[in-house]
């Protein structure tokens, strides 16, 4: 049961962030095309009916959602690098303690943010605030903070549990050069 839950969660996370990325790119590209083609008179009949004023806002929201869930995915892939000079110089026992401490700090911080984010969402829900261009309820938009942060906390705990059990940490495919998927 737990295994299936984790599998579904993993795929959902990956699918979400990849789609957010693709959608944001497409939307901004379309908005630029639209703005440029609006200058062409004979296309005006077609372009005039469209309105892309919401594109920037949507792009920002998509990327913020991608960033919050992607940060959780990043814990799983080990891409959040820290300063490891001390850890590398330390003996195996101290190293173990430091790594667990660092992961625990990560879990603690994200848990606090998830909690405060939830409070914030609740508060915004009460105000009935909507976003300027899309007029979406802001509390839904802000949901990415508690949800993303809670997921990130879960990932930190997962990585910690695995490290305590097996001593293995996720290794990024060399630094942020994973960047370009090398």
């Amino acid at each position: 049961m737990g295994r299936i839950f984790n599998r579904v969660l993993d795929r959902l996370e990956e699918w979400l962030i990849a789609s957010f990325m693709a959608a944001a790119t497409f939307i901004i590209f379309a908005a630029v095309l639209h703005r440029q083609s609006s200058a062409i008179p004979w296309l005006w009949d077609y372009t005039g009916a469209l309105n892309f004023s919401w594109a920037q806002e949507l792009c920002i929201y998509l990327f913020i959602w991608m960033a919050k869930f992607g940060a959780a995915y990043g814990v799983r892939t080990g891409i959040h690098i820290g300063v490891d000079v001390v850890v590398n110089a330390a003996g195996p026992r101290l190293k173990r303690v430091l790594v667990v401490l660092a992961l625990a700090l990560g879990a603690f911080f994200t848990a606090v943010i998830a909690f405060m984010g939830a409070r914030w969402v609740w508060f915004i829900h009460g105000t009935g605030q909507v976003s300027p261009d899309l007029e979406w309820p802001m509390w839904v938009v802000y949901l990415c903070i508690p949800l993303g942060s809670a997921l990130m906390c879960y990932r930190f705990l997962q990585v910690m549990a695995r490290f305590v059990k097996t001593g293995v940490l996720p290794v990024p495919s060399h630094g942020s050069a994973a960047e370009e998927g090398a």
Binding site: A67, L98, G117, R119
Partner: protein
């Protein structure tokens, strides 16, 4: 007092190997809990800032450029660029190494990241150089060093982050990177040429004019990207962020339809890998914005800036101190974090001393390049050691002579502002 405390908390957290982003956030949290009469409402600012801090269209150029870089690295364009570079300079003494540098400079015009440049060019040129009898150490040093051009020659992710954290114009900063970037490529090629003469490295047969033309045509579609990005920004057709999105779509078309290095079914993997990196960067950015919010609300930049003014430092001494501080920071952190933490602190001081913010941005970028080929956290070293299958220590030693070349170049860029400011001054006056 508060300055010391904040920095002390941050330092402790950083040294415990906590991810930099988390360390920044925890510092803010700890400080608020300890020193503002602990009310949930004040701490609420933290979670709110984690969203609103990112609510800027300018920042979103980062994920777009990461995506476009990922597409190009895997899209098979590197091989075409290398062929063109070889046709141009391969016939000189040490030609293969010089072509590697030139190819890195070309690739830097379409990619905003240094490790990506090392991967794209290095994975082809490194084995080639070793095969033609270059010492492996020399080859690794050349690749890791010239790969660092990726962040100096526009587009550049590091420059966007500087622009965002200081509210400067990314377009201007890009323009300011053009001359220093290609000048550095020239310097690196010159050093390589001299070394090659002394050590008698091999040459390649001179390419026919036809080969130059054919290889140029092959590389043309890739090299067009920089024309679109820079021309579009400068011509006012789109903002830097929109340019980045257009670049991503263009790279997709180039990688899938023109160079056919990627297939449509590879896209989920590419998107995921780009999302992974950009989310990491955005997460550091958010927490760094939170951190600089704490610094500002404690008036720390003003205090520091006043202190420096009171010391009556001359600009050149200040710049020297900045360079030393950045080089030290570069030993421990990666570029985006350093820029995000230090740029908002340094900029007010620089302004009060009459130093141009754009010039400071270029200085910081060149500093970051040095950090990238210097242990322990030089990203280029990691990547190069992976490609070359050499240990980190050996790669670091291989890069050491190049560190001195870059240091000399840094001094030049620092004290001759015209190198950076001439082109933007010409275009934006």
């Amino acid at each position: 007092m508060n300055v010391t405390l904040i920095l002390l908390i941050l330092l402790l957290l950083l040294l415990s190997s906590t991810p930099i982003s988390i360390a920044l956030g925890m510092t803010v949290l700890t400080f608020l809990v300890l020193f503002s009469s602990f009310a949930l409402d004040t701490v609420d600012i933290v979670s709110q800032r984690l969203f609103t801090g990112l609510e800027s269209f300018a920042i979103m150029a980062v994920p777009f450029f990461v995506l476009s870089g990922t597409l190009l690295t895997e899209g098979g364009i590197a091989a075409r660029i290398i062929r063109f570079a070889l046709a141009l300079v391969g016939w000189m003494r040490g030609g293969l190494a010089m072509a590697a540098i030139l190819a890195c400079a070309f690739f830097a015009t379409i990619s905003g990241s240094s490790p990506a440049t090392v991967v794209a060019i290095g994975s082809i040129m490194l084995p080639a150089m070793v095969k033609h009898g270059y010492p492996k150490r020399f080859a690794v040093g050349v690749i890791a060093t010239s790969g660092s051009l990726g962040i100096l020659i526009p587009p550049s992710i590091v420059m966007i982050i500087y622009a965002v954290s200081t509210s400067e114009s990314a377009g201007k900063l890009f323009m300011a990177g053009v001359v220093p970037g290609f000048l550095l490529a020239g310097v690196l090629m010159l050093v390589t040429y001299v070394t090659a003469r002394v050590k008698n490295f091999p040459t390649m047969p001179r390419a026919s004019a036809r080969e130059v033309w054919v290889s140029f045509k092959e590389a043309f579609w890739g090299l067009m990207l920089v024309v679109i990005v820079m021309g579009g920004i400068y011509g006012g057709i789109f903002t830097p962020t929109e340019a980045a999105a257009v670049a991503a779509v263009y790279s997709f078309i180039a990688a899938v339809c023109i160079y056919r290095g990627l297939k449509v079914r590879d896209m989920p993997k590419v998107l995921l890998s780009a999302a992974n990196t950009s989310a990491m960067l955005l997460y550091i950015i958010t927490n760094a914005i939170l951190f600089s919010f704490l610094l500002t609300s404690e008036q720390i930049p003003q205090v520091l800036s006043q202190w420096v003014v009171d010391q009556q430092l001359s600009p050149w001494m200040f710049l020297l101190a900045v360079n030393v501080a950045l080089l030290v920071a570069g030993q421990f952190m990666e570029p985006s974090s350093i820029i995000l933490i230090l740029a908002p602190l340094l900029l007010p001081i620089a302004k009060s001393l009459g130093i141009d913010p754009i010039h400071l941005g270029v200085i910081m970028t060149v500093n970051m390049e040095i950090g990238m080929i210097h242990p322990p956290v030089g990203l280029n070293l990691f990547v190069a050691s992976h490609i070359a299958r050499m240990g980190m220590t050996e790669v670091s030693i291989a890069c050491l002579p190049w560190v001195f070349v870059l240091l000399a170049y840094l001094a030049l860029v620092t004290y001759v502002p015209a190198i950076s400011l001439w082109l933007p001054g010409l275009l934006y006056s």
